[in-house]
């Protein structure tokens, strides 16, 4: 080996790709690809998963199993954050409002998928393997796995599109809760399969159910406990940085404990979020807002890892056919269940129509359960399940998010969950200015100025010269002051009593910048002028707030209106 080869081997060895460099590549590339997909109107999460596919097992293989195991904690962390954020959206008030619809639809769609997939896979399994107990086992296990819906990719689309309304609420509730149904079905199925396949010794029904009670019950108790602690502590904090650090610390502590005790991570984090949002509503809004701003890099990493993990190279024709049957059965079962459930519980029409499109996603829990099945039932049964679930996850993770987007768009819920901050971020000076404001000429006398003030409720008017160029602002206080000199008011002109226009902005100035000028300079109005100084309009702080509030109310009432359809 020459010196150069030695040097290169030492310094450019891909196996020495350190974790930070990989993180950088994933976040940098992920954000870029996500943005590209957004431009193509495809949910960004598809881009992240696609990048993962390209870099991981299925594609180039840059992210190998060792790297993935190194980065596993980040994925778990992401699941914890997702659980926490979903929990934060589940307000008791909303649950009460949708309670009946929610439970009915949840049970119908998860059981629908379970029943249909179980039957279809059992029949197909018998056709391929000519063994009833094998076929029934395969059917039951796949059926129970099919009932789970992954929250991550689905909620990411909801958050990206700022949705609000009945469909959003039902989706959030269902994707968060049907994992519990899936775990229950899987626990029962495993026991039945254990008996059918003759290795029932270590998977008795009772111990499976006890496991389940521990996994779910403990998660809820731990989450609520940690939520209580977090609530007590942030109550005395006012510093945002500290609240953020402490909240993230609490989430990490909780999911760390959950892993240690072998309980469900998402449920635990969700229960914490649920506790905070319902028992400390005043402080929680801020906390969730802070945590939300922290999530993007973790989520990008998580979804890239989801893509990287999928390996579809070992597929056989039998597994492909089974995967297609599983996929169709799952979609069919969930759709029938969702539609029947919505109809029976008299859910809004948008839920009935579009919920089926929103329940495709399958990821963590399904893959996790398939791996459990693979470890408990060694041999063809376990292997087939792992292959089929992996292959179908591949398909639904890419097809699911665009369908969710389609559903929420058609349901009219996109953009209804916009905050004041979002609204300002999206606007420019031209959007918030009074464009039809009359200008006051410099030589206008008090009488004609009074007339303008009397006809409109603006408190500030732009003053212009002969050419229409802005020279000042006339606030109502200055007009009021002329009462001091009422006997000379006929000699006074706008020029005499106006204020200098210290700040002005252009129509395309960003609204956030305008707001900052208002806040930092303590101004009440800012004129908007074009590049020649000609007045385009006027922004009054008071009227800007009114406009924003009106727009927010409008969006809120649109969301409320959706419930009545």
């Amino acid at each position: 080996m020459t010196g150069i080869e030695l040097f290169l081997g030492e310094h450019l060895n891909p196996e020495k790709l350190n974790a930070l460099l990989l993180l950088g590549v994933v976040l940098f590339g992920g954000t870029w690809v996500g943005r590209l997909f957004q431009l193509w109107k495809i949910p960004q999460v598809v881009g992240y998963i696609g990048l993962g596919l390209a870099l991981g097992n299925t594609g180039l293989g840059w992210i190998d199993l060792t790297t993935m195991s190194h980065l596993q904690p980040f994925s778990t962390f992401a699941l914890g954050l997702i659980g926490f954020m979903i929990g934060g959206e589940l307000k008791i008030k909303t649950i009460k409002k949708y309670g009946k619809q929610f439970t009915t639809i949840l049970l119908m769609e998860s059981l629908g998928a379970f029943v249909v997939v179980s039957i279809l896979i059992t029949l197909a399994g018998w056709f391929f393997f000519k063994n009833w107990s094998f076929a029934i086992s395969l059917g039951l296990l796949m059926g129970s796995i099919s009932s789970a819906t992954a929250p991550a990719a689905t909620t990411d689309v909801l958050w990206e599109n700022k949705t609000k309304g009945p469909l959003t609420t039902i989706i959030l509730g269902i994707v968060a809760m049907d994992d519990a149904v899936a775990l229950l079905l899987f626990a029962v199925s495993t026991s039945v399969v254990g008996i059918l396949m003759g290795n029932g010794g270590d998977v008795s029904l009772v111990s499976s159910l006890l496991d389940l009670v521990w996994e779910v019950g403990m998660a809820v108790v731990m989450g609520a406990g940690m939520g209580f602690i977090l609530y007590r502590v942030i109550r005395s904090f006012s510093d945002e940085d500290k609240i953020l650090a402490f909240s993230i610390g609490a989430i990490l502590l909780l999911i760390g404990l959950a892993i240690f005790l072998g309980v469900d991570i998402i449920l635990a984090a969700m229960s914490m979020g649920f506790f905070i949002t319902n028992f400390a509503p005043r402080r929680s809004k801020e906390t969730f807002h802070l945590v939300e701003r922290f999530t993007p890099p973790v989520f990008i990493l998580f979804f890239v890892m989801v893509g990287a993990k999928l390996d579809v190279k070992g597929l056989t024709s039998v597994t492909v056919i089974l995967a297609v049957i599983y996929l169709l059965g799952r979609i069919g079962g969930k759709s029938i269940g969702a539609i029947t459930g919505s109809a029976v519980s008299r859910a809004p029409r948008s839920v009935l129509r579009y919920l089926p499109f929103s329940l495709l996603s399958q990821a963590g829990v399904a893959i996790g359960l398939s791996i459990v099945a693979g470890q408990v039932f060694l041999g063809p049964l376990g292997d087939t399940i792992v292959m089929v679930v992996t292959a179908t996850t591949f398909v639904v993770q890419l097809a699911g998010p665009p369908l969710v987007k389609f559903a929420i768009t058609r349901a009219g819920e996109v953009g209804l969950n916009i905050t004041e901050e979002d609204l300002i971020r999206q606007s420019r000076a031209s959007d918030i200015a009074d464009k039809d404001i009359p200008t006051i000429k410099e030589n206008a006398d008090i009488k004609s100025i009074l007339k303008i003030f009397a006809e409109r409720d603006n408190l500030y008017y732009p003053v212009v010269n002969e050419e229409g160029v802005l020279t000042g602002i006339l606030p109502i206080e200055k007009l009021k002051d002329t009462f001091i000199a009422s006997d000379i008011s006929e000699f006074l002109l706008a020029l005499d009593i106006m204020d200098q226009a210290e700040f002005s902005c252009r129509p395309d100035t960003e609204a956030s910048e305008v707001r900052d000028i208002f806040k930092n300079r303590g101004l009440s109005s800012i004129p908007v002028v074009d590049e020649n100084g000609i007045v385009y309009g006027m922004i009054e702080y008071r009227r800007m707030q009114q406009l924003i509030n009106r727009r927010l109310l409008e969006l809120k009432s649109r969301a409320t209106a959706l419930e009545k359809v």
């Binding site: 006997d487 000379i488 002109l493």
Partner: protein
Amino acid sequence: MELNKIIRPNNCRLLKSNTKTEALLELIDLLEQEGKVTDIEELKREIFYREQIMSTGIGQGIGIPHVRFAGISEPVILVGIKPAGFDGYESLDGEPVKMIFMILVGGEQHKEYLRILSLLVHRLKDETFRTSLTSAESSEAVYAVLTGESH
């Protein structure tokens, strides 16, 4: 507010100028000598801009050029008298302007500005007061009439 405290003897003059422009410049020169104004050229521009938009001749021989000007910290009243009147000083009643009261205040002194204007105009409504001003024979006499020390 006491007008007498604002009016200073040095700022009251019988003017030599014959025209409005000269008269205004002569009054501004008084300020320049005191050195209290930072940007005298800018002040001139503002005074003339105001006159260009509309003359400050308010009738009865009175002219009150006035501006709020950032380069001034205390209100100033400059008084210029010319019994023969100034050429080119348009006024509401068409009568020649014989008395100029130039009022200058700081940029933020809006209320003071209006008070001074109001008080001054109120005092000038008295015809005998106006007559004694225009018949004053020296700058000192102008000051004395204005501040009531001649009575």
